[in-house]
């Protein structure tokens, strides 16, 4: 946002232009949440309303490993943030890579799960209401993880080429917010899909 980097003299403003990245991300999170909210409502509303099988209880296995990976990726990204604040780019890179790896593992796991559901259980998005709501809700989340993973990759590449410096800590922080949000959403999706509406 170079175009907007104007230096406004500091008055007694709690939020400075420097913080607009974080504030903007918060706004995005609000908007995204309302989208997920609707999908969750749809999932809960249609739970058990399918006219034909298979049902969640029959085919769903709780993705414990995948979830652990995703959740721990929140931890690694926090560590990488700490690292860059300390100016330790190398450490930052390592933790950043770990975060990416964990995210990718999650996606792969999801892929395997879907493959099993489609080919072994015969559950597709058009099979029944459960299929429709399951794939769209989990898929919407997976899509967000993918976007995050792409972002992580790009920044990782920058790091490898030495383009990431200490002064970028702020923007890294903004990106980390998004990643945490994606994790938080998974808490909701996980509990709704695999526990509440089982």
């Amino acid at each position: 946002m170079a175009a907007a980097s104007v230096t406004v003299p500091q008055a007694e403003m709690p939020l400075s232009p420097a913080m607009r990245g974080k504030v903007g991300m918060w706004c995005l999170i609000v908007a995204e949440s309302s989208i997920f909210c609707i999908f969750v409502v749809a999932y809960l509303y249609y739970a058990g309303k399918s006219v034909s099988g298979p049902t969640p209880a029959q085919v769903l296995h709780v993705p414990i490993f995948a979830s652990i990976c995703l959740f721990s990726s929140s931890l690694t990204i926090v560590l990488s943030e700490k690292a860059i604040h300390r100016g330790n780019i190398k450490q930052f890179g390592i933790f950043w890579f770990l975060t990416l790896a964990l995210g990718v593992i999650f996606l792969v796991e999801t892929g395997i799960e879907w493959h099993r559901l489609i080919y072994n259980e015969g559950l597709t998005i058009s099979t029944n209401l459960f299929g429709t709501t399951y794939y769209s809700l989990v898929g919407l989340h997976a899509f967000h993880v993918t976007v995050g993973a792409i972002g992580l990759t790009i920044i990782l590449l920058f790091t490898l080429f030495g383009a990431v410096k200490m002064e970028h800590a702020g923007r890294i922080g903004v990106f980390a917010m998004y990643w945490h949000f994606v994790d938080a959403i998974w808490v909701v999706v996980l509990s709704v899909v695999y526990f509440i509406a089982r």
């Binding site: 946002m1 175009a3 504030v23 903007g24 706004c27 249609y46 029944n128 429709t132 709501t133 919407l140």
Partner: protein
């Protein structure tokens, strides 16, 4: 805080024009611009274009309905007309116009040099533009230009299962879905941008409690955009999944529910109408004080009322669904929440009256439009209250009474407000005044047209005329009324034409405005007209809600009282 250095009014300059430079270059500059002022102007013009297109569609409907058993257009064309009219007006006329005004004025009013994310700002505009283009591409799709091509014909809230592949063959509905989906992304981006700008980019001394009313209303509008567009986006995604991946969200054959679409749509749809009206309220809250020569009455309460409206409006959506057979408890709840909105809205109306009370009112064109808007908000709101009384709505719902109700708000308040804004800020934007005589003609023509059309439109509703019918029998006794309604449109169209002419003429012939033609009080009037790219050479330090008043009246500045 730094001692308030006076806001040095730069000397009046004749607005220099880009005429000299080659047209290609000028166009290029506009297309690649990230300047909030230019984007604001582009949003506004885009919206006006849509207003004219939507208006012409409306005129076609009115021509068809003017007499009984008319055969001017075919049934499907009529259905496409009201769908395109509604969609165009709400998403591509009203929203871009309010976004444009917010874009142009917010940074100027809070003493910033641009929006928080200029490039995102441009992206948002182009997404909105693209959405509209996709929607209108439907006209040339399908069976070519015959009738209205393959324009969508499912109504602007596209109730399921009419949108299911079974009942909507071909791609007409997809133009609607994808068009709105994409413009929705643009809206979210703009909402995010306005919100962040207001929170982070305020100039020195511009505390939240000192922001102009318009900025306040725009930030509440932005908040509603953030929370309300999401549900629409989600619903559109579900609809696409149903139509392309064989999903069953709204597939009543496979156990899906038609009613849940209504919920999802109106959870968006009701806040949407407040997204549109709040900026209009903001405009009134800027214009009325200046031309009454008094500060806005009860600033704090006005702000509180705005926030109250914002929150309550998230809990009233099902008043659009009183007839779908909800339980008596659900109906009762939504009667209560809906009627509750009357209170903060009433507070606003009363405070506007309070602002005029004891003032010295000059009836310039912007003030005329504003006063009319206040009175019309009163009437439109009261018809809303009638609809909010569920049993009464069981009779009035989906009748022309509803059509009359919301056109009363949308035209009577929003469009009138937008016209007021155009006369009020035109000098700031172009550096020249608009012609008052033409303005008065515009006002009276549009006022007459508006009332002839929409006052009388209530009547067929009360006589049991449902909406969305392409024809009716003479024996139903609706004919005379519909004729009157249609005649009014001619005056509205003339009024609009006067306005367009005025805008164009004044751009070249209008008399030089100077920085502060209205002797107003908010920051934007302290810079040149048109403002320089950087808005403010020296960011002004604000000590009260009316910085220019402080400047002009050092003997008793506002900050003494706040």
């Amino acid at each position: 805080m730094a001692e308030a250095q006076p806001i040095v009014p730069p000397l009046v300059i004749t607005p220099e024009r880009e005429g000299s430079r080659p047209i290609v270059q000028v166009l290029h500059d506009w297309i690649v611009t990230v300047d909030h002022k230019r984007l604001g102007i582009m949003y506004f013009c885009y919206g006006i274009l849509a207003l004219v297109i939507g208006g012409i569609e409306a005129s076609i409907m009115r021509a068809q309905l003017a007499v009984a058993n008319n055969h001017l257009v075919s049934p499907e064309t009529f259905n496409q007309m009201f769908t395109m009219h509604g969609t165009t007006m709400i998403f591509f006329a009203a929203m871009p116009i309010v976004f444009g005004i917010a874009n142009y004025l917010t940074p100027l009013m809070i003493g910033a040099r641009d929006m928080a994310f200029p490039r995102l700002n441009a992206w948002g505009f182009w997404m909105t533009a693209l959405g509209g283009i996709i929607l209108y591409f439907s006209f040339v799709g399908g069976f070519g230009l015959y009738g209205a091509g393959s324009a969508p014909d499912v109504g602007w809230f596209a109730y399921a299962p009419l949108t299911s592949p079974a009942f909507s063959v071909g791609h007409s509905t997809d133009y609607w879905t994808i068009g709105l989906l994409i413009s929705g992304f643009g809206s979210i981006a703009t909402g995010l941008n306005i919100m962040t700008t207001v929170l982070c980019m305020r100039g020195p001394g511009m505390k939240l409690g000192r922001m102009p009313m318009l900025v306040w209303l725009n930030s509440v509008m932005a908040f509603l955009v953030l929370v309300a567009i999401g549900p629409l986006t989600a619903a559109q995604l579900m609809l696409l999944i149903d139509r392309y991946l064989g999903g069953h969200f709204f597939d009543t054959q496979a156990g899906g529910s038609a009613v849940i679409w209504m919920h999802f749509f109106w959870i968006f749809g009701h806040p949407e109408v407040y997204i549109l009206v709040l900026p209009a309220f903001g405009i009134l809250s800027e214009v009325i004080p200046v031309f009454s020569r008094k500060p806005i009455f009860g600033y704090n309460i006005m702000v509180a009322a705005t926030i109250a409206i914002g929150f309550i409006s998230l809990s009233v959506w099902a008043h659009h669904m009183f007839t779908v057979g909800m339980t008596s408890y659900a109906n009762a709840f939504f009667v209560a929440s809906t009627a509750a909105i009357a209170v903060p809205t009433g507070i606003k109306i009363f405070n506007w009256i309070g602002t005029m009370w004891g003032g010295k009112i000059t009836f310039t064109t912007p003030m005329l439009f504003s006063v009319a808007a206040v009175a019309q908000m009163l009437i439109a709101g009261l018809t809303g209250i009638m609809l909010a009384s569920a049993p009464f709505d069981w009779q009035l719902g989906n009748s022309y009474f509803v059509i009359a109700h919301f056109h009363y708000v949308i035209l009577g308040v929003i469009v009138f407000g937008v016209f007021a804004a155009s006369y009020y800020w035109y000098p700031k934007v172009t550096g020249r005044m608009m012609s008052e005589t033409l303005g008065k003609c515009h006002f009276w023509l549009f006022l007459i047209g508006f009332h002839v059309t929409f006052d009388f439109m209530h009547v067929p509703g009360l006589l049991g005329m449902p909406r969305r019918i392409y024809t009716y029998e003479a024996s139903r006794g609706w004919e005379g009324w519909n004729l009157i309604v249609s005649i009014g449109v001619i005056f509205q169209a003339l009024g609009v034409l006067f306005w367009v002419f005025n805008v164009l003429k004044s751009y070249f012939k209008g008399k030089i405005a100077g920085n502060d033609p209205w002797d107003a009080w908010t920051l934007e009037w302290s810079t040149t007209s048109p403002p320089p790219d950087y808005n403010y050479a020296e960011l002004p330090v604000v000590r009260s809600r009316r910085p220019l008043w402080d400047l002009k009246h050092p003997e008793d500045p506002d900050w003494k009282y706040e």
